[in-house]
């Protein structure tokens, strides 16, 4: 061991052992951990969805003992539209990041706005879907399908909401010209998180809506 002058203090420098910015590595690490979070929620859904003692059910009609008739409750076309927009938003955020890196503020603000619009649409769709289910008679308490469905999609929706708030903050900063190319990493971190939230939905959508 010999000492050399090397005056870089902590996580803010660029000369890291891997060459990767520490904040970017931290987001990746967090995403790794979040994989286990959603893996557990998805497993819980798979374990519990068939254990409901009463309806309504996701894919089958059900008639209650009192003679009330329930259709299969999932609204697949609407959710497919939400899914498509969420997937497109991953493309939009890449274009926004590319704008930020090139110093093109119009591209940054425009594409980021499109991303946020898709995110808000998705959350709005989920709010509509949840309200609709409650009106149809499916709540957290009704059966285990309801309980595990609301927990899984609800926590995903919470992640999307946090992502929207994060991106909105960056959008305002972008409008003010505070995301120059040298600070595009601030957007890149949010974009990584946003992609992750989309990827999780790519798993949830077939598991919940398409597989019977």
């Amino acid at each position: 061991m010999t000492a050399v002058a090397h005056d870089v203090p902590h996580g803010l420098e660029h000369a890291t052992a891997t060459g990767l910015d520490s904040r970017k590595l931290a987001i990746w690490t967090f995403i790794g951990s979040e994989c286990m979070f959603f893996a557990t929620l998805i497993s819980n859904y798979l374990v519990n969805k068939g254990r409901s003692l009463v309806g309504p059910y996701p894919h089958e009609a059900w008639t209650s003992p009192s003679g009330e008739h329930f259709k299969p409750i999932l609204e697949i076309p609407l959710v497919t539209l939400g899914t498509a927009l969420l997937l497109f938003s991953s493309l939009f955020v890449v274009l926004a990041l590319s704008g930020a890196q090139r110093g093109n503020r119009r591209a940054l603000v425009g594409w980021l706005g499109a991303t946020i619009f898709c995110g808000i649409f998705f959350v709005g769709m989920q709010v509509y879907e949840f309200t609709h289910f409650v009106h149809e008679g499916l709540t957290l308490k009704t059966n285990l399908f309801g309980a595990s469905f609301f927990t899984l999609t609800g926590f995903h929706g919470t992640h999307v909401t946090i992502g929207v708030i994060w991106l909105l903050t960056l959008w305002i900063l972008g409008l003010k010209g505070k995301i120059p190319p040298s600070k595009s990493l601030n957007l890149e971190m949010a974009a990584l998180y946003w992609h992750f939230v989309d990827v999780v939905w790519i798993v949830i959508f077939p598991v919940v809506y398409l597989i019977k």
């Binding site: 010999t2 090397h6 902590h10 996580g11 052992a17 957290l140 927990t151 708030i165």
Partner: protein, 615 residues
């Protein structure tokens, strides 16, 4: 060993940072101070957990005892386990992560100093949240494992379970934030030349521990969320009358719970892997094998959880799988034990206090490991499960392992942390009392357990042959408690003396011994360049000297340090208030508005934090 008494005036206030006083501690982002905060807080919780244990032992010292009611006994054993695991061993390990990882890899701080402060404050508030339950006469009473149905609203209508469920959730946030931080620190902030396979073994074991934390804690987070939904919002995840399955809780809990066991022991593995070579005057034997066996233990740790559940009747295939995977773990663990012995073999052993605790660790951990292999056999386990045999086993690994290792680390690094050498005579007295007290307490539990004494039961009738051994165990517990009283005396005595620790009192092998004791705020005046394993021994060898000259205290002018901040504390208060208001919501004592206000406070803290210049 050359000791050097520093004149008080020789050590400027800057030796511990330019700032002093309460506010400087509240706003600190210095990993060394945060480490000391973790250590002091965790030690207080450790004493609380110890007092809880002594109360349990008084109750069990005589048959048909009425010293504690059954209800109080349930609260005490639940809080003893929860406290020792989440508020003592884990944060004591975190003290070493904080203090040592940056020093051992040659960095000036962790990757995210403010996130580090946030972790500490969340941990502190989580620990207080759990223990405030005593004041409401509603301490958790369902066991640290929280099995359904004991936790259902039907059978536990009070707030006891909620203090536990929400308290663990708070502590989990602290652990996850810290794990991200240390993971990134180890990957990214290593000094030039500090390749992965040159890292000190403590850093390696800490690194593996962070990976375990990152993978295991999300599982318990979800399990606790589901439990919260069951208790507060009327779902039936673990309620059979609604179609739910109580066994699902056990799976989720132990998928977290078994890796948790390695989260508790791997840091101690790391500590004694630092202590043994230094006091054997030999490099660690089989470095690469030590690294890979650690990785292997962690990997297998995710595939053995159901050995905690043989009694649930999983069937022969699951039983066989989990029995075999459990036995497999004995192989990398055995590799480690032989490598520690190999390190000592032929060395010039110096029986200083840290070394005694490290050797004690090996001996006690072998006993705990062997009884662990015994109940990896499902038929044997069915006889042993829920008896004192299990209590004996996990105390041999958790106390005989983790606590012996952490204590070795405390004696070893005390001079580096505080600039003072702990008294050797008192240290050795502490060791012998602890070793004797520990074995007198826990060894007889193997026998009363195999003779059928059930755990988690507040008393036992006379005439079953349990009296004598239980009396002996209680005496042992008090000897064990007294050994820590000796430690406290040692600490207070040492505190009153002037700083007397040189930079390198033990002729150490790692970078932390190359800088003054205690280190200056910026750790390294110049970032070191590393050319091999045991970097400091390497330097001494290159220079042909037995000891290096005392490093001078330097001015920190021009060294860029992170700014102090109180936003981590504000954000931590936001986290804790969120869970407090959730508790009120769950018991219909408040509506959703306070929860929203608490979340808003959290967002406010995080935003101010994000927009504050990091320095």
């Amino acid at each position: 060993m050359a000791t050097r008494v520093l004149d008080q005036h020789q050590v400027p206030a800057a030796a511990h940072g330019e700032h002093t006083g309460l506010w400087s501690w509240i706003t600190t982002v210095d990993h060394k101070r945060i480490g000391i905060l973790y250590g002091a807080t965790a030690f207080l919780f450790f004493l609380m957990g110890g007092i809880e244990a002594l109360l349990l032992r008084i109750q069990l010292g005589t048959p048909d005892n009425t010293f504690l009611s059954a209800e109080r006994y349930n609260e005490l054993f639940t809080m003893h386990g929860t406290t020792m695991i989440f508020l003592a061993i884990m944060p004591l390990s975190a003290m070493f992560f904080n203090f040592l990882i940056p020093l051992q890899i040659g960095a000036r701080d962790v990757a995210f100093p403010r996130l580090n402060a946030f972790s500490y404050w969340v941990f502190l508030l989580g620990g207080l949240f759990l223990n405030v339950s005593w004041l409401f006469n509603a301490a958790p009473d369902q066991g640290w494992f929280g099995y359904a149905n004991l936790t259902s609203r039907q059978y536990s209508p009070g707030m006891n379970v909620d203090f536990w469920m929400l308290g663990l959730q708070i502590l989990g946030i602290a652990s996850l934030a810290a794990a991200v931080n240390f993971f990134v620190t180890i990957v990214n902030l290593r000094a030039p030349g500090m390749k992965l396979m040159r890292m000190p073994m403590f850093v390696w074991m800490s690194f593996i521990t962070q990976v375990l934390l990152l993978m295991a804690f999300p599982v318990i987070t979800v399990a606790l969320i589901l439990l919260m939904f069951d208790r507060f919002f009327g779902t039936h995840f673990f309620v059979p009358s609604g179609g739910g399955d109580p066994i699902l809780w056990q799976h989720l809990f132990w998928i977290f719970g078994h890796p948790e066991v390695y989260i508790l022991i791997l840091p101690a593995f790391g500590i004694i892997s630092e202590v043994l070579p230094v006091f054997s005057r030999k490099p660690l034997f089989g470095y690469a094998a030590m690294v890979f066996s650690g990785v292997f233990i962690a990997f297998l740790g995710f595939g053995v959880w159901s050995h905690h559940m043989f009694a649930t009747g999983m069937g022969p295939i699951a039983d066989t799988f989990f029995a075999l995977s459990t036995m497999l773990i004995a192989i990398p663990t055995g590799v480690k034990i032989f490598n520690w012995i190999g390190t000592m073999w032929g060395g010039s052993l110096q029986f200083r206090t840290p070394m005694l605790f490290a050797i004690g660790f090996i001996a006690m951990f072998i006993i705990g490991g062997l009884s662990g292999v015994m109940h990896s056999e499902p038929p044997a386990d069915l006889q042993q499960t829920d008896t004192y045999f299990i209590v004996a086993h996990f105390h041999y690994v958790m106390f005989g392992g983790s606590i012996f290792g952490l204590t070795a680390g405390a004696y070893y690094w005390w001079p580096k942390m505080f600039g003072r050498m702990l008294n050797e005579r008192l240290g050795k007295l502490h060791f012998w009392l602890m070793l004797i007290g520990f074995n007198v307490t826990f060894f007889p539990m193997h026998f009363v357990g195999l003779n059928g004494m059930p755990r988690r039961t507040y008393t036992y009738p006379a005439g079953l042959g349990f009296e004598t051994l239980n009396r002996i165990e209680t005496i042992g517990a008090f000897i064990l408690g007294f050994s820590f009283f000796i430690f406290l005396i040692n600490v207070i005595q040492t505190w009153r003396k002037p700083r007397n620790a040189p930079a390198d009192p033990w002729n150490g092998a790692t970078l932390e011994w190359s800088i003054p004791s205690p280190p200056q705020e910026w750790n390294f005046a110049q970032i070191p360049v590393v050319h091999g394993r045991d970097a400091l021994w390497e330097t001494k060898r290159e220079q042909g000297r037995a000891a290096l000259p005392e490093p001078p205290l330097v001015s920190g002018a021009g060294i860029h340090l992170p700014n102090p901040s109180y936003w981590p504390l504000v954000s931590a208060v936001g986290v804790a208030s969120t869970f407090i208001t959730l508790m009120l919501l769950g018991h219909d004592k408040a509506g959703p508005l306070p929860v929203i206000a608490a979340v808003a406070l959290l967002f406010f803290g995080v935003y101010r934090w994000a927009f504050e210049p990091a320095g």
